[in-house]
């Protein structure tokens, strides 16, 4: 214990003297949490729309106004020629083209049938898909509106109609930030636990202080604990800062208990520090540790359901995601913060995290003995 205390004192002296680490712990979560949730947003707005109107009738004008006033679209070009519109797609100034044929109104009234041509730039599939779906929806609405106007209403309305009204549980207004903020918080803590800790350990190897320490009565496990405990503490501090920021800026306050979040964070960080230690046994220099760390974190974040839901992944990717501690912590954070889940609701995730903490730390210790 005495030896660990000495090492901890030394470690904190160094940390408080290192402006880079302090900035990383205090400023990075602030900046990322303030900027990322606004940027990482699935709502598609400002779709650039080109209108090719060959009709210039009252109805076609009404339809165009309805589409433009929906709020999802921005008129990029209003033209008589489809080629001009397509050209503007090529220049990436237009995402969706709507072509209204001549005789749109005439056909609609006389033949009770007409066609509208919608084409979308699918370089960004989600923008194209969502954009054309919006257009379709508006046209359908417009269609039923004129139907009501044109078709004489029967005496009593006996057309069967189903109206569906959804309720969105746990996130009433489909606020995307509620979903993103806990996830981003987790990815930040992941960074401290794995990357920062491994870089710091490798630094001792690189500078040669590790060798100097080895020729002292300090034992290896004491040295390692002395290194990992400060980063465990920093991870917890970072979580606290992050939750404060998400409350102050986004008004996100956990529905569930803080204690549960911290309990999870405590075990999650132990697992992560195992990964950090493992990286440090592989890397010889800080640069190498950095690259390996980035690779691991990239992998973890992408396969964690942070940005893309796990349900959309192929089966093999789901298996990989199951071996990823980030997956579980993000899941738990979202459950506790949004749904107010209790300990027994997240028991499976808790066991998964404990198993992972054991596995990663054992691997790290085995590899540590092998390389030294």
């Amino acid at each position: 214990m005495r030896a660990i205390k000495i090492l901890l004192i030394k470690e904190f002296q160094q940390i408080f003297r290192n402006p880079a680490i302090l900035r990383m712990i205090l400023v990075m979560p602030a900046v990322q949490l303030i900027i990322m949730p606004f940027a990482a947003n699935y709502e598609v707005k400002n779709i650039n729309l080109a209108i090719v109107n060959h009709d210039n009738s009252q109805y076609s004008q009404q339809l165009v106004n309805k589409i433009l006033s929906s709020g999802y679209f921005k008129l990029s070009i209003n033209t008589q020629s489809y080629d001009v519109a397509l050209n503007s797609v090529e220049k990436d100034k237009t995402d969706v083209i709507i072509e209204i044929p001549s005789n749109f109104e005439k056909d609609l009234i006389k033949e009770s049938k007409t066609k509208i041509f919608v084409s979308a730039n699918a370089v960004n599939p989600s923008k194209a898909g969502i954009g054309s779906a919006y257009v379709m929806g508006i046209i359908r609405e417009f269609n039923s509106a004129i139907l009501a106007q044109l078709v004489q209403q029967p005496k009593f309305n006996n057309i069967p109609r189903i109206e569906a009204t959804p309720i969105f549980w746990y996130n009433k207004f489909l606020n995307y930030k509620m979903y993103m903020v806990p996830g981003i918080l987790v990815s930040l803590i992941t960074m401290v636990g794995s990357l920062l800790a491994s870089i710091n350990l490798v630094q001792e190897k690189e500078i040669g202080t590790m060798e100097q320490i080895n020729v002292t009565p300090i034992k290896k496990w004491q040295f390692i604990l002395g290194k990992l405990i400060p980063f465990w503490i920093m991870g917890i501090v970072m979580l606290t800062i992050g939750m404060t920021i998400s409350y102050l800026i986004f008004g996100i306050f956990p529905q569930g208990s803080f204690g549960l979040i911290y309990l999870f964070a405590a075990f999650y960080l132990i697992g992560l520090l195992g990964i950090g230690l493992l990286i440090s046994t592989i890397a010889e220099t800080q640069l190498q540790a950095n690259f390996i760390g980035f690779f691991v974190i990239m992998f973890f974040n992408m396969l964690s359901g942070l940005f893309t839901p796990l349900d959309g992944m192929p089966q093999w990717a789901k298996y990989l995601a199951l071996a990823n501690p980030v997956t579980y912590f993000i899941e738990v954070m979202r459950m506790v913060i949004m749904k107010g889940s209790g300990f027994f609701d997240v028991l499976p995730q808790f066991f998964a995290l404990i198993v992972m903490a054991i596995v990663f730390n054992s691997l790290a210790i085995l590899n540590y003995h092998k390389t030294n």
Binding site: R2, K10, R17, N214
Partner: protein, 303 residues
């Protein structure tokens, strides 16, 4: 009991491809300064790392203060001081913090062993609040020595402590070592500088993983059996060429301002040589017999 015993230590790297130590044996008596003298790549650092329990030898046996470097690793780590060739203290801690840190991990205090480091520490004390990384090269060496000494080690390992240090600081450093010897600390020190060899009690000349000889500095000089001449003239470059092509010459090395030359026959006719050089256009020729230095001995033993 000897401070260090090394018996037939072999060490290879890259799965046996690179031989670092080739059956090295020597011993260091208690309380002496033992110099390991050899050029870069001779295997000095490998030997230090084996003796300080940082590296396992391929074969052979070594003990430090009576402890086996493999079996009693933990005991050795408590009683030796190690100063690696590369500055390995915490650069972002201050001079004082580094010293305190190393004192406390050895379960002692700076105060308790202050008498050991006093002479050295007073020189860096004015900078005690400066971070170790910001010290000059000589200061760093002094701090590293203080940190290696603060727990009053029985055996002190100094791996090239004076490499890259200015001549004045080097001299100071060696006088400190002599004082430490008085405290009864045994010191193993390595250096590539032959002139420092004379300051040791005993030296081992090492090259390519082989110990060439172990002796006192005087003993090594005395074992030099040939006559050695120092030869000078006004045209040194031409002189080297001429002497090397002279059939009686055994070896000829440039040595500072003069050439050190040995001849195949100790009864070489110097008059004849002088005349021969004159006829080759040399002026101000000086031929004097000299006592060899350690470096001369090293060069002679090398092959």
């Amino acid at each position: 009991m000897n401070a260090i015993n090394v018996e037939n230590i072999t060490m290879t790297y890259n799965k046996g491809k690179v031989k670092a130590l080739n059956g090295v044996s020597f011993s260091v008596k208690k309380g002496e300064i033992f110099g390991l003298i050899g050029p870069d790549g001779a295997g000095k650092t490998s030997l230090f790392r084996i003796l300080t329990t940082l590296l396992l030898a391929d074969s052979g046996y070594a003990e430090v203060a009576g402890f086996d470097v493999v079996r009693d690793m933990k005991s050795i780590r408590k009683i030796v001081g190690y100063m690696p060739g590369k500055f390995s203290l915490y650069q972002d801690l201050t001079v004082e913090e580094n010293l305190k840190f190393f004192a406390t991990i050895f379960k002692t205090t700076v105060k308790e062993n202050y008498h050991l480091i006093k002479e050295i520490y007073v020189q860096i004390e004015p900078f005690k609040d400066r971070r170790a990384g910001k010290l000059s090269g000589g200061m760093k060496q002094k701090l590293a020595l203080c940190c290696a000494l603060i727990h009053k080690p029985e055996v002190l390992f100094l791996d090239e402590p004076t490499t890259g240090v200015d001549p004045v600081s080097r001299k100071e450093f060696w006088s400190m070592l002599r004082n430490l010897k008085k405290e009864g600390i045994s010191i193993l020190v390595s250096t590539p500088y032959m002139d420092e060899a004379n300051l040791c009690d005993n030296i081992a000349l090492i090259k390519d993983g082989n110990i060439l000889t172990v002796n006192t500095p005087n003993g090594i000089v005395e074992s030099y059996k040939e006559k050695l001449y120092s030869i000078k003239s006004q045209n040194m470059y031409q002189l080297i060429l001429d002497l090397r092509s002279y059939e009686e010459t055994k070896k000829c090395f440039a040595f500072g301002e003069s050439l050190h030359v040995t001849f195949k026959n100790d009864l070489v006719d110097l008059e004849l040589l002088n005349n021969k050089l004159k006829s080759n256009g040399h002026e101000n020729i000086e031929i004097t017999e000299i006592t060899p230095s350690i470096e001369d001995c090293f060069l002679a033993l090398e092959d």
